[in-house]
Symmetry: C2
Subunit: 321 residues, 2 copies
């Protein structure tokens, strides 16, 4: 199968919103009047971001999900994406699964594939996603304010649990592993929650490198600090029973520094607590308050007895991992 056949067979679909889509030198879109355009790019590499044995449909889902998660963290509405794909070979069965997983998620969010590139090479997936957000309403990393609550959506640590099992660092039942593996391979980008948090949250980021590391980005950008108790790691909507079953030090690692969660970490004024619970409940996404932004810089993590935890939690860094 040649490059052009491959594109036609697996990636060409009737264009909806795009003026011009897959198949010309460029795609053309007409941005909605007055809206700002939010743009993000993420690249996934075999062996680093996913295992070679991953189900291609799940990989198609994840490649787009991690990009949609960036839009969610800005409060942007997905519009379109491009896909650049390096493949060792043009394997129809793999491409069928990959494109199915990709388009299923894309369709669920009305996000249209408008162009891209395919080439032969070590497996590499690079997606650039475009979204819209009204001016001044984007959620940004530098907008946290002293006194803000710190919130997290969904659950943390499940993806890391799966990774620890694959690395042979812990053992769980097949059922537990499968649940954790779905969270690792099929993360749920919090696209609707991100949009609902416009004008409610101050700062936001998606948890991709690990909670504490990603919180660190907000603190640095915003010129503030934070205090976090860990009672919520002992039992809350943010921790699944599977992660809760882990011994305390490993659980702390998974939840606070696990990474690959693709949940939203956001800060918001105390006066919006009720509103946040209400909008999260409408969207059926659990949200948990996990700390407070402080004027004093630095991140203080306390154990359930109020004592500072001085361990170092390494966040994921692609060149120092």
């Amino acid at each position: 199968m040649g490059e052009f056949d491959l594109i036609e067979r697996f990636f060409q679909r009737p264009s909806r919103r795009a003026v011009l889509s897959v198949g010309d030198d460029c795609a053309l879109i007409q941005p909605a009047a007055g809206q700002q355009l939010a743009i993000s790019t993420d690249m996934l590499v075999e062996g680093r971001h996913f295992l070679s044995t991953v189900d291609p449909a799940r990989l198609g889902h994840k490649a787009l999900a991690v990009n949609l998660s960036d839009l969610a963290a800005c409060g942007a509405k997905p519009v379109a994406f491009t896909l650049a794909l390096a493949l060792p070979r043009a394997d129809p069965a793999w491409l069928e699964g990959f494109s199915r997983g990709l388009f299923q998620l894309a369709d669920a969010h009305g996000c249209e594939l408008i162009g891209g590139d395919t080439t032969q090479g070590p497996l590499n997936l690079s997606i650039t996603v475009l979204g819209e957000v009204p001016p001044e309403q984007a959620l940004l990393r530098h907008a946290a304010q002293a006194g803000d609550d710190i919130w997290v959506s969904g659950t943390l640590g499940d993806a890391r649990l799966a990774l620890e099992v694959f690395r042979g660092n812990c053992q769980v039942s097949g059922e537990v592993l499968e649940r954790a593996r779905v969270r690792m391979e099929c993360p749920t980008p919090r696209v609707e929650l991100g949009q609902a948090l416009r004008n409610v949250a101050h700062a936001a980021i998606d948890v991709s490198d690990g909670l504490l590391g990603d919180l660190g980005h907000i603190l640095k950008r915003s010129g503030v600090g934070a205090q976090m108790e860990t009672a919520w790691v002992q039992g809350s909507a943010a921790v699944t029973p599977d992660v809760l079953a882990l011994p305390w030090p490993r659980r702390l690692d998974c939840v606070l520094a696990g990474g690959d969660d693709y949940e939203l970490l956001f800060t918001a004024p105390v006066l919006h607590r009720e509103r946040i619970h209400a909008l999260a409940s409408d969207l059926e996404v659990p949200v948990t308050r996990i700390g407070r932004i402080t004027a004093e810089s630095g991140l203080r993590v306390m154990d359930p007895h109020g004592q500072p935890i001085n361990r170092r939690f390494a966040s994921f860094d692609h060149f120092n991992a």
Copy 2:
């Protein structure tokens, strides 16, 4: 050097037009009112699109140039780009050269780096470029009309000459090789020409896979055919003396099917001949008329004696090369 240090040191620069640039979950840009957005993505893989020995500054140039060339082929004005980069290791000398070549070209076209991703992996460069074009003015592949002249900008075949030398298929002097190599490694995207051809040309494409193959895309999309004599391959502004020195069959291959030229191939009504010569002269870009669009489908290539050339010219296909 960690991922975030690497981004800060080599890729973070004061943002100009972007509302928000490198360092948040998304970049934000405010599209100019009423303009359409042209978007293109190209991925370059080591060993396939460039040699491992390439000068990193030239590679930085080329990675952006091939994307700007897609904007040029649509008549769009460059605005911004994202860069996703997989690197085997964070080598400061390599990154310094790469980012220098990249930004030199970006600055020349006022095209701002607004975001991206860096990760460890086999060397892979994926760029998504954004440009603006007034509605209805984009140059598209499907707009060729019977009777149009077929034009090409610049010179063809030089990049392929360099490749043939590297493959050991022909020998040239060091001086000739260096000139051809610069054309292969540092192509010039015809950005200004593309914009000048709005409302003048009908269809356009950039020559990346080879002249005949790329012309074939226009013919297929436009539902037309073409007739091309090859007298111009015997001597015209479109063929450098270095390529002219090649024996006829190899010269035909290099010029008609060489690829990697990144020149503009476009069709335009006969009545615009003078205007096209004038605008090209203003921009100091040679343009050459090489054939005519016909209502009858199919591509007829004639030798200088008017006899049909029946050889097959294979265009570059990433999965059948």
